[in-house]
């Protein structure tokens, strides 16, 4: 059992129903400080609903969620100032400079910041005066991440952060997320990519039909499966197609 103050997020018996159908069916889990926690599952498993309840965007029907000991349901505004949220599709108003958007996001938390410093962190310093609509998909994701971190939150939520990105941008984003974790911010993300979960997540929860069916480190989950006698057709190949792609087009961002 982990010590209480090592836990940043505690979810107990969380429930949500839509029209009598249970979208989230009494799940419980804990996220430790400074870890990357992944929630995996097929579409409709309840991943996004779970995140939205913890993010105060959806009402909690039953059970509870606390962040750093503060109850989500009863202190939504306090919770919002402690979390950063990267939605599935980052939308920003057009004809607004990146610096102005950073300034606005900081202002939403009542803070004044130096936007340039934040943009430099994600290599967007030279785009400071550009409008967000001129950014590429990967640049937009990086910008979205830095915009969610202007107020130094304790927990950072990402909903399918790398969907639709090219391999270079994905790798770059993984690195970025690891950097965020190394700054002591706990990261909770959902993803459909198993390779992403395996590389990035310290622990993962696998959800199906509103319930958590398994929760452990990726390594332990794989070991457990093998112990049960699972065998895959052995292919001893030293590289896969993605390695070829990266070899041919380079690791650098385009």
């Amino acid at each position: 059992m982990t010590k209480t103050n090592d836990i940043i997020l505690r979810v107990e018996n969380l429930q949500k129903s839509y029209d009598g159908k249970k979208a989230v069916d009494g799940i419980s889990f804990e996220v430790k400080r400074g870890e990357i926690f992944g929630i995996l599952g097929p579409n409709g498993a309840g991943k996004t609903t779970t995140l939205e309840m913890i993010e105060t965007l959806r009402e909690i029907d039953g059970g509870s969620a606390t962040i750093d000991g503060i109850d989500v349901a009863t202190n939504p505004y306090k919770i919002r100032s402690m979390i950063g949220v990267q939605p599935q599709t980052p939308g920003f108003q057009d004809k607004t400079k990146l610096t102005e958007l950073i300034q606005m996001f900081a202002a939403a938390y009542g803070e004044k910041v130096n936007p340039k410093k934040f943009l430099d962190e994600v290599d967007l310093g030279d785009k400071a005066d550009s409008f967000v609509e001129s950014l590429s998909g990967g640049q937009k994701q990086r910008f979205s991440i830095v915009a969610a971190l202007v107020h130094s939150p304790k927990v950072f939520f990402l909903d399918e952060p790398t969907t639709g990105l090219d391999p270079q941008a994905r790798r770059n984003l993984w690195e970025l997320i690891e950097n965020v974790r190394d700054r002591g911010i706990s990261v909770i993300l959902t993803t459909h990519y198993m390779d992403e979960a395996e590389v990035l997540c310290d622990r993962i929860a696998i959800m199906d039909r509103g319930k958590i069916v398994e929760l452990d480190t990726p390594k332990n989950l794989i070991q457990a499966l093998l112990k049960r006698g699972f065998k895959k057709e052995q292919k001893v190949e030293q590289a896969n197609l993605e390695d070829v792609f990266i070899d041919l087009t380079g690791k650098g961002l385009k």
């Binding site: 919002r80 939605p87 980052p90 939308g91 108003q93 606005m104 202002a107 939403a108 009542g110």
Partner: protein, 380 residues
Amino acid sequence: MTLQQKLYTVWAFFTVNLKRLFRDKLALFFTFLFPLIFLFVFGGLNSGNNSVSFNVAIINESHAPFAKQFVKQLDKQKSLKVNKNITTFAAANEKMSRGELDATIELPESFGQSELFFRGPDTNFSYSGPAGQAIVHYTQNNQSAAQTLTTVLDAELQGINAKLVHSDKPFSVISKQNNQRSLSAFDYTFTGLLGFSILGAGIFGPVNIFPELKKMGILRRLHTTPLRVWQYFLSVMFGSAVSGLMSLGVMFVVAMLVFHLKVVGNYFQLGLFLAFGITMILGIGLAIGGWAKNERQAAPLANIVVFPMMFLSGTFFPRFLMPHWLQGITAYLPLSPVIDGARLIATEGKTLLDIGSQLGIIAAWMVIVYLIAFRVFRWE
């Protein structure tokens, strides 16, 4: 968060969004140019001179030099618009039947022939020189126009008579303009167009923008921050008041330069009053746009709310033209006191203290629409 921090949030959103407005060509068009187009169209219809004028054709069948002279003189008359393309009765009748001509003036062949003379049997008055009788032809629907026209021609001929035959008239009448200013049709048109502009920016602005912001997930993202609805609304209110006043200011300047609008009221009070009106009308837009999940919900509701005000609040025609009972009801539509108040201050020189009833109705609507707007607002 301290109150100061919360107000900084409002300020930051207000300034960034105002800068954004000036980068958005479409928004600029609808904010500044669109109202001006209406101003030129409706102002053009209503301005010119206020005097009545008649469209007439003159058919001159006389060859006398006097008749020619007389036609020239009529042409100079301000109250007559002589259509010179019409030279036959057939053409004139056709135009009259279509309502494009008010009347036709016929100068018969004998008009202005100087061999005529007149000697009354019971007077010792005698005259020899040009004489004759003009005839005004008109159709059923143009009786009053024809009567007025006959009077105009009669006066014209009296003037000529007086030159030809000296006589002393014991009674006469002249008209004299006093210095008191009265409202012109344009004063009503202009304040109506101000109202139309406020209606467009205040309601269709948010109704178009909010569903778009929701579709792109922008409001949803703001919802994950501690931003409060009142902070967001306040920043939009300031933005709308500033851009609205700039837009109305441009309309005032153009109206004064091009259409000779005379503003007699106090500019500061006028600005304050208009900002108050804009903010109230904006509340209606915030309620509709904030409630609607998408354009399909927003557009029909906005039209239902806007159309009654568009036609009954005095935007395109003044309310005093309505039947009395309808005036009484329409006075309570949200836009009516805004238009009336603007006219009372701008063109009649009233102060805020004089227009208490207008301010009261606006304030009451302000409370109602913002209560609704806060209650129904949705971030997504």
